[in-house]
């Protein structure tokens, strides 16, 4: 009989739901998690496939090396670079993220997270419009109207439906599903449509027009029936939805990247956030972006807490500057600006636009990741780290900005991202002799 033990109330870090009610059964002989009670299909795969693999501690220019040699090589690359970028950070702990920001500060580099290719446009919209917000706990206990817009939680965040929204029973919705009206708005009829009372299939690239028409209807303005030709949604359907929004007790719009990754980007998110604000003249209404990777919300929080901005932050002048389109990673790489990259727990070589990937092939890349990825394969320095939440403890933020503690289940021979980044930080600082002089001061000194 196998020797097993159970870690109770562990936290799954696959998606932004960050469910913290996992009961993990660990097989002590095979060093694997053999059962993940309460996990969804994605969580079960996450725990099953993130055992401790045998990989080199580090690869430097393709040759096996120790972690310390990897750290030294990484520090030298960063110390020599003139316009380095640090990217990723959504699949690691807040403790690791803060060291990454400190490195960016020391080397006068750019720091950006996967937020820029996720809900970055929503981040821009928050600054423009504001955010009527709530925790998932409030939504679970109060929401009687749930509108999912441009997302497919059934496949991307399965427990969002069962733990926090659609079928969850709450204090003011004691009958769960029966007490809630569920609306899905999307271009495709996805598996999420199965839980919806009302499905609105909007034409591609027309979300903004639907949102703006709803804003008009909520304010009692006239909308021309030709809206159906433009958006694919009949005026009567929009009028019905607007009436439901105004008359519910607690409404919520949970929106996905169907808004941010299509025509309109931050204007789409801004229109939805403005609609939520408008509705507070009539009832209580909130809006939340459905966040992807386990700790992407933590990345926003840590980078904001340390620099004042959530992503796309440049520190080359010795103070933080935020400018999406200029300091966001896809742009920095596609323009060919960066001369080195430190990638933490992300795989841009498999999910970035082609021009950005081509530039990654031209510059020295350092990767920290538990697994072999397309990015680690093109990296000059690849350091194997332990998986957060499985072998590493620390803090992560749920998608509603609630911080949670990790309870690791499997010991790993590999170091944490936090310890590697801390060592790189100290080594770089020593090589540079403190913080790098800001670029403008270097120009002035040379003159």
């Amino acid at each position: 009989m196998a020797n097993t033990h159970v870690i109770r109330d562990a936290t799954c870090t696959f998606c932004g739901c960050v469910c913290d009610d996992m009961h993990l059964t660990v097989d002590e002989d095979t060093h694997k998690i053999v059962k993940a009670e309460n996990a969804c299909v994605l969580g079960r795969a996450w725990f099953k496939e993130h055992g401790v693999e045998e990989r080199p501690y580090a690869l430097v220019e393709g040759r096996e090396a120790t972690t310390e040699q990897g750290i030294d090589a990484a520090a030298r690359i960063l110390a020599d670079a003139r316009f380095p970028i640090i990217y990723g950070l959504s699949d690691t702990t807040c403790e690791a993220q803060r060291h990454a920001v400190a490195i960016a500060d020391i080397i006068g580099g750019t720091i950006d997270t996967t937020t820029s290719v996720c809900h970055g446009p929503s981040g821009i919209a928050f600054q423009d419009v504001g955010e009527a917000t709530a925790t998932l706990g409030e939504i679970r206990n109060r929401a009687d109207l749930l509108i999912f817009w441009g997302g497919n939680p059934a496949e991307s965040h399965p427990r969002l439906f069962t733990r926090y929204t659609v079928t969850a029973k709450g204090m003011y919705v004691p009958n769960g599903r029966k007490d809630r009206t569920v609306v899905l708005v999307d271009v495709r009829r996805t598996p999420s449509a199965a839980v919806a009372d009302i499905f609105l299939q909007v034409k591609p690239r027309r979300d903004f027009e639907v949102l703006w028409a709803l804003r008009a209807l909520v304010r009692g303005r006239r909308v021309d029936p030709s809206i159906e030709k433009v958006t694919g949604i009949a005026l009567a359907t929009l009028e019905d939805l607007a009436a439901r929004m105004k008359s519910c007790r607690f409404g919520v719009m949970l929106f996905g990247m169907g808004l941010t990754m299509t025509r309109g980007r931050h204007f789409n998110s801004g229109a939805l956030l403005a609609l939520a604000s408008d509705l507070n003249k009539f009832t209580h209404f909130v809006a939340k972006p459905v966040r992807g990777h386990g700790n992407v919300t933590g990345a926003d929080n840590v980078v904001s807490w340390q620099t004042g901005f959530p992503f796309g932050v440049n520190l080359s002048r010795g103070y933080p500057r935020f400018n999406p389109g200029e300091f966001t990673t896809v742009d920095v790489l596609s323009r060919g600006d960066a001369d080195a990259a430190l990638i933490i727990a992300a795989d841009p070589a498999s999910n970035f636009p082609q021009p950005a990937i081509e530039h990654l092939r031209r510059i020295p890349v350092i990767v920290l990741d538990p697994k072999s990825t397309h990015t680690s394969q093109l990296a000059k320095v690849a350091i194997t780290t332990a998986s957060y939440g499985i072998s590493v403890g620390g803090t992560v933020y749920r998608m509603d900005d609630v911080p949670l503690t990790l309870r690791p289940a499997l010991p790993s021979p590999y170091p944490s991202d936090e310890s590697v980044l801390k060592a790189i930080k100290e080594r770089v600082s020593k090589l540079i002799g403190g913080n790098r002089m800001p670029a403008m001061e270097r120009v002035a000194a040379a003159a």
């Binding site: 994605l42 795969a45 970055g120 591609p204 990247m257 299509t262 498999s350 990937i357």
Partner: protein, 114 residues
């Protein structure tokens, strides 16, 4: 025979589970190279499930296997692919000053591979 369509990239359950096993595994490669298409569009282009199609954008070109979806689920003129190296090959680096490439709204040419 080719047609212009809108490509949407996105997540699926099988993409999510297979990515945990590794991006070089057969399942992930299979999932991320399957193009979902409206069944009527497929019939018009003379395609059936598992046929190869060439998908071209202003940035790149890929060959994927197509899979039919009910007409009510996926509108005519829209194709879907799970995120991965193939969808990435079609994406432009221009973010219009936002930081975000248009991964859910790519104009593509679709043609059967004979």
């Amino acid at each position: 025979m080719s047609e212009t369509m809108i490509l949407i990239g996105g997540r699926t359950s099988s993409q999510g589970t297979s990515v945990c096993a590794g991006k070089f595994g057969a399942e992930y490669v299979n999932v991320s190279s399957t193009l979902e298409m409206n069944a009527d569009d497929m019939a018009r282009l003379g395609l059936k499930d598992n046929d190869s199609v060439r998908v071209s954008s202003a940035t790149g070109q890929i060959v994927a296997r197509c899979k039919g979806r009910a007409v009510k689920d996926l509108p005519s003129g829209v194709v879907f692919i799970a995120y991965g190296p193939l969808s990435s090959a079609l994406m432009d680096g221009d973010t219009a000053g936002s930081g975000m490439p248009l991964s859910k709204s790519i104009d593509v040419q679709i043609e059967p591979v004979i």
